[in-house]
Point group: C2
Chain length 162, copies 2
Amino acid sequence: MNLKNQVEWALHCCAVMCSLPDGRFLSTKALSEFHGVPKEYLSKALQSLSRAGLVETTPGAAGGYRLARSPAAVSFLDIVEAVEGRKSTFLCANIRANNPCRPRGHCDDGPCPIARVMWQADEAWRRSLASVSLHDLSGELARTVPGDVLARSQNWLLDRAG
Amino acid sequence: MNLKNQVEWALHCCAVMCSLPDGRFLSTKALSEFHGVPKEYLSKALQSLSRAGLVETTPGAAGGYRLARSPAAVSFLDIVEAVEGRKSTFLCANIRANNPCRPRGHCDDGPCPIARVMWQADEAWRRSLASVSLHDLSGELARTVPGDVLARSQNWLLDRAG
DNA sequence: GGAACCCTACTCGGATACGGCGTGTCCGAGTGGCTTCGG
DNA sequence: CCGAAGCCACTCGGACACGCCGTATCCGAGTAGGGTTCC
């Protein structure tokens, strides 16, 4: 019951893409070196984001990624689901149907009450993630990270991207 | 990012233990046959519940499991955490520390803002699970499952347990 | 008839095997920008 | 001097290897109750 580390990487990549000037892209290479993670594997996470329509890509030299929408329109849930998938955490095998005392054809329709509780918790998790956008995160970062570190990071990335 | 199927089994086992008369125990064998799951493996889930103090055991013949507390005092979260563990679903590797522009010793204290959002969602998930008790589940079952099926299941289990 | 004994059924923990998936790497196809070469 | 061809860097997708963990099974130690046997 762990989220994959690609989720963390994708979130950090989206975070640095928030303050990307128009017309610029961040390459996988720059992002991987900036975060200290393997380039080829990080590429998988970015491809997931691309498949989900959260980021745009440009092929070729000076290519790379940038956000496809405004930071305020991208929630944590969007990113987590892009990487992790949209299926529920709890998989109901409907084992109540194995009850030897259950008449045939009974309990086959309608969700299992136990599954319903688990799915409600899943919903709460998703709601919480959906309530925070990349814009909110940017604000939080601007408040907690010294301005010079932010600016230097920005320049460091732009130096290495098209 | 899936909960193990043992979670589902443990929840169903706890559900049937709710209406167990005082002084009686349900054996692993009975529980496994009732739910149609492998006995030896279900035993692992029950052992997890036992380790967490949610159920009591009696060794020997006519032995088995019963709830250690009243159904109202056992939440879904208790059961899920007993089987799945108590650690968060999001593991923060603190990759922001790899930022080449970050001055040494900076950002090392205080949680990563991204991790904080993920942990808040985790908290929401846990709160949702903690808000439903086995007592609530029993009520829901009594409302949705026909009384004769409940009674017959009860007797079926008691016939096979001490 | 009562007590001691054995047998059985169960819990509990460890050991083991297998498969799937997360993790990580490598490679080839496609594409766009830059450099270089030729007219 | 200018256009075209080649080169390079990057994206994207697939293939592959490795290791961990969830799944599943088996076995032995310990224990309590019931049946059996012996006094």
